[in-house]
């Protein structure tokens, strides 16, 4: 319990297990009776069981449980803290744990990576052409793209190993279940579908009776999906199509290179500002408690967006030096966001969440499969 508090949990000890949170939750089920199942595990100190649970990832923090909790035990925030804790548990390097529990580590590492980027560029940049903007002379695209790929490879390695740990803890450890390979293939569409639509989140809203609350929940989902679409698009362009995107040619406005970029920037700006605004104003239930990590991720993302916009503006104005400088700053913010947040931070929910739904579906159909093939009851837990 004390450990979870370091990850931002509040009020767990107030819970007297009345079950209100679980019954009010639009997403809880008999197989996954959260938040109470998670709170109970924390209360009795069953760490090993908690780290095998997928439940925290299946919650999207609509806040109904916290709003109606008779004891003010903040079940929603406990689920949030459990997600942070799980991110720490899945990560074998121990860095996620450090970043979540120590602000000094988090800020320190961001600054360190940013500094490293600046230093690298300082030593390896190309000639500064001041007559006109030649970004690709200053930062040759081949080198940037190569660095890009190296970084992507490293991140992929961390992601893959952490995901495997998650898989091992939540699926493989459950010896009662034999999962035929075919089921992984059969249920694989859930992974892609949920990653793309966050459909499960939208069911929070569709169950809501109160029309005002319903709109609020739907808007939250919509804002997030817009943000993700912009993020995904930008990510794809930068990783796979950087030579097309970072260019000194100026494309006409109707060219996809321009308007795709503008769309992504626009929704990123809207999404991050909305997220930060909500937190600052403590707009909804989920905003009442903010762990440092809840601030840092959107702030980094917003900074990336803003420096991108600035750099773009300068380039189109034809101001060489400001373009180069903002480019350096842009990279110095982007790198820590990717390197630190992707495998070790809040960003990781981008793959943990759809994976959790995927694993849940696989386990559910394995259970059904076991029932239908052997006619024997295989206990789930």
């Amino acid at each position: 319990m004390h450990e979870l508090k370091e990850y931002g949990a509040v009020g767990i000890e107030k819970c007297f297990n009345c079950g209100n949170c679980t019954a009010i939750c639009p997403l809880a089920s008999d197989e996954y009776p959260f938040p109470r199942s998670v709170i109970r595990r924390i209360q009795v100190g069953q760490e090993d069981r908690l780290e095998q649970q997928l439940d925290p990832w299946l919650c999207y923090y609509c806040g109904d449980c916290s709003a109606t909790c008779p004891k003010g035990a903040e079940p929603g925030e406990t689920m949030m803290a459990a997600r942070r804790w799980l991110t720490g548990r899945y990560d074998w390097t121990g860095l996620a744990r450090k970043f979540y529990t120590s602000l000094a580590w988090e800020i320190g590492s961001i600054l360190l990576v940013a500094l490293a980027v600046v230093v690298i560029i300082l030593f390896f940049h190309g000639p500064l052409v001041t007559e006109r903007v030649e970004l690709n002379t200053f930062a040759p695209i081949e080198i940037v793209h190569l660095a890009d790929w190296i970084m992507a490879g490293t991140l992929l390695f961390f992601i893959a190993t952490n995901v495997f740990r998650m898989y091992w803890l939540t699926v493989l450890k459950d010896r009662s279940l034999k999962i035929p390979l075919s089921l992984y293939v059969k249920e694989a569409w859930h992974l892609l579908f949920n990653a793309a639509t966050q459909a499960r989140w939208s069911t929070c809203a569709s169950d809501e009776q109160d029309p005002i609350e319903k709109r609020r929940k739907r808007n939250a989902w919509l804002t997030h999906i817009l943000l993700v679409s912009g993020y995904g698009l930008m990510f794809f362009i930068i990783v796979f199509m950087l030579p097309w995107f970072q260019t000194d040619n100026i494309y006409p406005v109707h060219n996809p290179q321009r308007w795709l970029g503008y769309y992504a920037t626009g929704v990123l700006l809207y999404g991050t500002v909305r997220a930060l605004w909500g937190r600052a104003k403590k707009e909804f239930q989920m905003h009442r408690f903010s762990h440092p990590s809840d601030w840092i991720f959107p702030i980094l993302l917003l900074s990336v967006t803003l420096t991108g916009i600035l750099q773009h503006t300068f380039r189109y104005l034809g101001w060489p030096l400001p373009t180069y400088y903002t480019y350096v700053v842009h990279l110095a913010v982007t790198a820590p966001m990717l390197i630190l947040e992707v495998p070790f931070g809040k960003w990781a929910h981008l793959y943990y969440r759809p994976l959790a739904i995927y694993f849940e579906k696989v386990k559910a159909s394995a259970r059904k499969h076991a029932l239908s093939t052997t006619e024997a009851f295989a206990p789930a837990d």
């Binding site: 009345c18 079950g19 679980t22 019954a23 008999d30 009776p33 199942s37 109606t68 008779p70």
Partner: protein, 431 residues
């Protein structure tokens, strides 16, 4: 109205106030009992039976009401509101308003002829709005005093009551009168109200037709009730499945009522037993967080209910909605199994909690506790003393309690007040 000079003034004519007044009057003190409703009796007279003995409530309360009315040392003042209070050297001076009944209390015999003639029908608060009464009426069958009262707000001034009254008691010209009471000591017995039925929007506010409060169920069960049997208000159907939602108004931070109201477990169990008698085929389920049966004989009472087949399920009901036939559907986690269910009932009773009746504490400027009940500075040493010397408190004005405890604190407050009166009058005699 003549001004009065008494030893003790009891504010509130519920069971605690009546008992305190009787206990003081029996010791020879002059007592005035002030009640703002047209009849004394309070909440208890509306109840069906008392726990844990299942004695008839009317049979206990009515004799006490009668005793208060006929006691030579008690001045019964009904339909009166306290306006202001001032401290004098020898006690308190209160300004009191006698609200107009539009009926001469000295002439009215309680024959109810006016009531039978009156063409205006209104929902009766005595029956929690389930039954009806007339614009002019004796408030309820065992009301004390047995005197009619006219509701001028809803009266159409047809004059039929005035014509039919043999005693000539109906008087449309009555006005509110202010008078003064001087008293050595005050006893606050202002009682409680239920927490509002619409407080939790997850329970449908007040919009669900077949979700009722426990005092409504008391009226269904009481022999003096409007229907003489249990039915559901939505369509008059006899319910075959009934759920009780415990802690629907207590132990809930979102309602601002964090304390336990102490009576809800027991009245729910009691009502479940009585319903089992009235509707032997009905399934009764009580959803609870904890069952608190702390009084003498209460645990046995709980076990009896279990033995009678009342189903006790641990889990706080999170939400209630209505299906197409206005049947309430409760959603709850069965916490002992870790399953989430939705179950349809014919009728749901919200076991609402107790909050203090507002008013008296403000006029008397009595400090309140965290729970908004009147603060008691030394609950262990002087359980009935408020923060102001000479003002005592009893019954549910002190905090949530059942009838047994209310009567105990009434005896206790009478004893404390009597000691204070003797001491104080001795002092002023010597001074």
């Amino acid at each position: 109205m003549e001004n009065l000079h008494v030893d003790a003034l009891v504010l509130g004519g519920g069971i605690a106030g009546m008992q305190a007044a009787l206990d003081l009057a029996d010791q020879g003190f002059q007592v005035a009992l002030l009640e703002r409703e047209p009849s004394i009796g309070g909440k208890m007279i509306t109840l069906s039976k008392v726990f844990p003995t299942l004695d008839c409530c009317s049979c206990i309360t009515t004799p006490k009401m009668s005793a208060v009315a006929h006691h030579p040392n008690i001045h019964l003042l009904t339909y009166c509101e306290m306006q202001s209070v001032a401290e004098t050297g020898s006690g308190f001076r209160l300004a009191v308003v006698q609200k107009p009944r539009y009926v001469d209390v000295n002439k009215c015999t309680g024959c109810r002829k006016c009531e039978y003639e009156c063409p205006v029908t209104l929902p009766s608060p005595f029956d929690r709005g389930l039954g009806a009464y007339r614009a002019i009426r004796v408030p309820f069958s065992t009301a004390v005093p047995q005197t009619a009262v006219l509701d001028i707000e809803n009266c159409i001034l047809c004059g039929k009551c005035e014509k039919v009254c043999a005693a000539g008691a109906v008087d449309f010209t009555q006005r509110a009168e202010t008078f003064e009471i001087q008293a050595t000591t005050l006893v606050v017995a202002s009682g409680f109200e239920l927490t509002p039925l619409n407080a939790k929007k997850e329970y449908g506010g007040e919009t669900l037709q077949n979700v009722i409060d426990p005092l409504m169920m008391e009226r269904f069960l009481a022999p003096t009730g409007p229907y003489g049997r249990v039915l559901r208000p939505g369509d008059g159907k006899e319910p075959t499945s009934i759920a009780y939602v415990q802690c629907a108004g207590s132990r809930d931070q979102t309602l601002g009522v964090e304390y336990c109201s102490r009576v809800c477990c027991m009245y729910a169990i009691k009502q479940a037993m009585l319903i089992s008698g009235a509707l032997p085929m009905a399934d009764i389920t009580i959803y609870y967080m904890d069952i608190r049966t702390f009084g003498k004989g209460y645990e046995q009472f709980y076990q009896n209910a279990q033995a009678m087949g009342v189903e006790f399920v641990r889990g706080k009901v999170a939400a209630i909605r209505e299906d197409d036939e206005q049947n309430p559907v409760v959603k709850v986690e069965l916490t002992e199994e870790g399953r989430i269910i939705e179950r349809t009932f014919d009728l749901v009773v919200l076991s609402l909690g107790m909050v203090p009746t507002a008013g008296a504490d403000g006029i008397l400027s009595l400090p309140l506790g965290e729970d908004k009940f009147i603060a008691i500075p030394a609950p262990n040493a002087n359980p009935c003393e408020t923060a102001r010397p000479g003002i005592f408190v009893t019954g549910t004005a002190m905090g949530p309690m059942d009838i047994v405890d209310s009567i105990i604190t009434a005896g206790s407050v009478a004893s404390a007040a009597s000691a204070y009166i003797r001491e104080h009058q001795k002092e002023t005699a010597y001074a």
